[in-house]
């Protein structure tokens, strides 16, 4: 009776999947594996003789500056996870578990921080929360004291947790949405309710998602370069690596040693996430289940929820508000609000930064396309073919997560400086295309996750039906699988696109001329000077609006696809 009894024929005859897998392996080998291995190799190499040595690591740990940087990086990352959790938890819970007018808008707004480079937010946050920022000026007037939100490491933690909390929100929301209604109802039936029910049933079931999100935040903060750089906090690992390479040169071993440590920590955090999730596939929507439990709020509960939500949104959107004020403000210094308002920054931004905008659209767009093509190919090979070693393809792609942007940048500089482009004889490391590739490799894990999730929702029997009716493998993928995956692919593209558009860590290393620079780099340049801040902020506002719109639209598409699917299930299932 079971179809598993009939062994699926092994399709060794078809070489197609192997060719696809081969192309993916070549790409990832050249642009991920080789550069990273090169970085590790150099870290263990004596700079003069080229022989194996541990002396570089000894030098690193003998330096109090590096030890301090190491400690600071760990501390900042840990605290950022704590604060990011405090922001994400209420938002995820309220919007997934209650019937809430405006849930979609709240979820979309909560994604907004992701679409702005954290270092731009940092500038705005200085103006709002810095020692002479709006909030502290007011507090000094009213209460006679101020809070050092932005002092040293505090500032990095504050900016980072606001920027990266959506990672926890996304994963936690997804986990919460996978908890079948009957799981909670069984708890209620046995006498549990309210916060106890949440603590004993809901949160443990959502734990895998939370851990996935939290470890991602840890890694991202640990690896981030732009924010500490802009806040002038240089005693952290990533800024140290950048400063060594940019000021001393690509032969200085310290940059490579730091890169190794960044990799080790990233791998460690991912391992923790893996341990936390092992054997815990708690997705509990199942046959006979009742779907998601959402309940109506009583009016006083609703008011309380809105207060909490708007407080959090107020904080996490503060950088955007600050940016908006900055973009319209003529002079803003030592005052609660700008002295007067103007629109001239937008004009300046358009005329002087058009190249940056154009480059960003091209780079991030290309990277997004590369990612969903690679993502679909990998997901398909892993889940639907018998290619030997297909699991490793998945591991290889996902391992990009453990490679900090700084490391990839350093690796590309080291490896591709010696490779010349055909026709132009320009070093490959200075070609604009290398930026696209770096972005694509770095964002591939996210796109792959979307593609895998989308493919999981396409039942193999739908493909078999197509093949049964005479469509070839390739045509089946094109006519059945990809259309059914469409909403997931769009989500993957938007994630890749919007995060690539604001990435700085790798690009700051790879941009060779201002003409090739993307928006993030341009913004970074603008933000360096006081005069550039207005136009820089105007640019930032435009970026936020464009990417925000794209995110909202993809949300709507994914939502609509989900509704279609659930109405289809309802039509075929028992609705009594």
């Amino acid at each position: 009776m079971s179809s598993a009894a009939i062994a699926r024929p092994v399709r060794f005859s078809s070489l197609g999947p192997y060719m696809v897998a081969g192309i993916v392996v070549l790409f990832l080998g050249a642009f991920l594996l080789v550069p990273v291995l090169k970085v590790i190799q150099v870290a263990f190499q004596d700079p003069s003789s080229g022989s194996f040595t541990m002396v570089n690591f000894q030098d690193f740990f003998n330096s109090s500056l590096f030890r301090q940087s190491f400690f600071n990086s760990v501390y900042v990352s840990g605290m950022s996870v704590v604060f990011a959790s405090a922001f994400a938890l209420p938002l995820a819970y309220f919007t997934t578990r209650f019937n809430f007018s405006g849930s979609v808008i709240i979820q979309t707004l909560a994604f907004v921080p992701l679409i702005m480079p954290p270092f731009i937010g940092a500038v705005a946050m200085q103006l709002l929360f810095g020692s002479n920022g709006s909030v502290n000026l007011l507090m000094r007037d009213w209460f006679g004291f101020d809070i050092p939100f932005m002092e040293g490491l505090n500032g990095v933690i504050f900016v980072q947790s606001i920027h990266y909390f959506p990672f926890i929100l996304i994963n936690l929301s997804a986990s919460l949405q996978n908890i079948d209604r009957s799981m909670e109802e069984a708890g209620q039936m046995l006498g549990s309710s309210g916060f106890r029910l949440f603590r004993r049933i809901v949160f443990p079931l959502a734990m895998p998602g939370y851990i996935a999100g939290a470890s991602l935040v840890f890694v991202k903060v640990f690896d981030d370069l732009g924010t500490p750089l802009l806040l002038n906090v240089n005693t952290m690992l990533a800024p140290q690596a950048y400063l060594r390479i940019s000021s001393i040169g690509i032969s200085d071993p310290m940059g490579y040693v730091i890169s190794c440590i960044l990799i080790v920590f990233s791998v460690f955090a991912m391992w923790v996430a893996f341990l936390g999730m092992r054997g815990k596939d708690y997705s509990t929507t199942q046959k006979g289940g009742g779907g998601l439990s959402k309940r109506d709020l009583r009016s006083h509960e609703a008011i309380l929820c809105y207060v909490v939500i708007f407080s959090i949104l107020g904080i996490v959107l503060a950088p955007h508000l600050g940016l908006l004020l900055l973009s319209f403000g003529s002079v803003w210094s030592f005052s609660v609000l700008p002295d007067s308002f103007t629109t001239s920054h937008y004009g300046t931004a358009f005329t002087s930064a058009w190249t940056f905008i154009k480059n960003t659209l091209i780079y991030a767009g290309l990277a997004g396309v590369i990612d969903i093509v690679l993502g679909t190919a990998i997901a398909y090979v892993v889940m639907r073919t018998n290619v030997i070693g297909r699991k490793w393809l998945d591991y290889l792609a996902v391992s990009a997560l453990a490679v900090p942007g700084v490391v990839l940048g350093i690796g590309y500089l080291r490896v591709f400086y010696g490779v010349n482009m055909p026709f132009t004889d320009q070093p490959m490391a200075t070609w604009w295309g290398i930026i696209v590739i770096a972005l694509a490799v770095r964002r591939l894990p996210y796109a792959l996750r979307s593609c895998t999730a989308a493919l999981q929702q396409v039942s193999p029997s739908l493909e078999e039906a197509s093949e049964n009716l005479g469509a070839s493998k390739f045509r089946t993928v094109r006519r059945i699988v990809v259309p059914l995956m469409a909403s997931g692919l769009v989500a993957g593209f938007v994630t890749s696109f919007s995060t690539a558009a604001v990435e700085l860590s790798a690009t700051i290393m790879l941009v060779s001329t201002e003409n090739d620079a993307p928006l993030a780099y341009g913004l970074y340049l603008f933000m360096q000077s006081a005069a550039g801040r207005g136009p820089g902020a105007a640019l930032g506002v435009m970026a936020v609006i464009i990417v925000g719109l794209a995110t909202y639209l993809s949300h709507r598409m994914v939502d609509r696809a989900r509704q279609q699917r659930s109405s289809m299930e309802q039509a075929t299932g028992d609705v009594a």
Binding site: D180, S182, M183, E185, A186, G187, Q188, M189, L190, G191, S192, S193, R196, R200, I201, P204, L205, M207, K280, D281, Y282, T284, Q286, K287, G288, G289, G290, D574, V575, A576
Partner: protein, 357 residues
């Protein structure tokens, strides 16, 4: 296991209506379930049976009307204060807790002293035959085992009533037969008023004291399974329970008595107090006798098809344009009638039920 014995509760459902948005799912349900009864809600998909069960447990929109447990109305009270036990169709075992933890949950929520929880959990697991699995996780159990744990988790808190939502639908056929007997034994032992939701008439018929047949959010008929089968209240019930021939015709005065007439050849005497007018006659296939044409005297018909069902053969017989299903007991070597063969049908008036929809 006397500790789990509770004094059984009477359930009265009065004029209960419930809507999802603009869709009316329950339309004025009235039911009285006796203390200690094993009661079934039987009906097709969309009949409202699960919605009614969930309303008793306190899930879903708040209904209009009353649900009384021993005379006390529980509509509007929150699920966690009702002490109504429910076994979910999906079992809803929490994957992050062991079997023992799952079962202990309700006791912990009730602040039962820790020293009593262990023995109670063990006793409940023993009762469902899962004593050896306390430290397993739900994912390490088969469907049938999960079902038993779900039962143990529900009964350990000694709920006032036990609600079973399609409890057997996720089990394979053999296990289903075994499990329904186990359920019945357990219910008798605990003496707890139990409601069983199913779309499978065999399940309801075999283990339930009484059934309520539901369709379109309305209770169509209540009674013992055999009573309902023998005396269906309307054509829906007649067709939903077993197989039925439903003949369209009229009741009319003839030959000095009331008769049901259908076509030219069919005339069956009915009770003298039946009113004249349109009516339907329900005749079960097994209550029609079929003979070769030679032994005349009955209704003449022609065999359209024959299906061999093992213990019997089901014939479709054309009687002047109407098709009647007739079941004939099959014994070893008995000859089967062929398609086109002329036969004679005998219909005992005692076996026919007159209904008017």
């Amino acid at each position: 296991m006397t500790t789990m014995q509770t004094s059984p509760v009477q359930i009265d459902i009065e004029n209960l209506s419930l809507s999802f948005g603009n869709t009316e799912v329950l339309k004025g349900v009235n039911l009285a379930i006796r203390p200690g009864e094993f009661f079934a809600f039987l009906g097709p998909s969309g009949s409202g049976k699960s919605t009614l069960l969930r309303a008793i447990a306190g899930f879903g929109p708040t209904p209009k009307g009353q649900i009384k447990l021993d005379g006390q109305d529980i509509v509007g009270s929150v699920p966690w204060q009702r002490n109504v036990g429910m076994v979910f169709q999906s079992y809803a075992l929490w994957p992050h807790m062991t079997v023992a933890k799952n079962v202990a949950f309700g006791l912990e929520e009730r602040k039962v002293p820790a020293s009593e929880i262990g023995p109670k959990v063990r006793a409940a697991l023993e009762l469902v035959g899962m004593g050896d699995y306390a430290e397993r996780f739900p994912s390490q159990l088969s469907g049938g085992q999960q079902q038993r744990v779900a039962l143990a988790r529900t009964i350990v808190v000694e709920p006032r009533v036990l609600l079973l939502d399609e409890p057997l639908s996720n089990l394979d056929a053999n296990l289903r037969v075994q499990m329904r007997q186990d359920l019945l034994k357990l219910q008798r032992r605990l003496g707890i008023t139990t409601i069983f939701v199913t779309h499978d008439q065999e399940e309801a018929n075999t283990i339930c004291d009484r059934i309520a047949v539901m369709a379109d959010g309305v209770v169509q008929q209540i009674g013992r399974p055999d009573e309902v089968y023998d005396n269906p209240a309307n054509s829906f019930v007649a067709k939903f329970l077993g197989t039925a021939n439903i003949l369209q015709g009229v009741v009319a005065q003839a030959d000095g008595g009331m008769h049901f007439e259908c076509g030219d050849s069919l005339r069956i005497p009915v009770a003298a107090d039946e009113k004249p007018g349109k009516a339907q006659l329900v005749v079960r296939p097994e209550s029609i006798e079929l003979e070769a044409a030679a032994t005349s005297g009955g209704l003449a018909g022609k065999v359209d098809s024959a299906e061999f069902l093992g213990g019997m053969v089901r014939y479709a017989v054309d009687v002047s344009g109407q098709q009647l299903l007739v079941d004939e007991r099959h014994t070893r070597g008995k000859k089967r009638m062929d398609k086109g063969e002329i036969v004679s049908l005998k219909l005992d008036p005692e076996q026919a039920v007159l209904i008017r929809d």
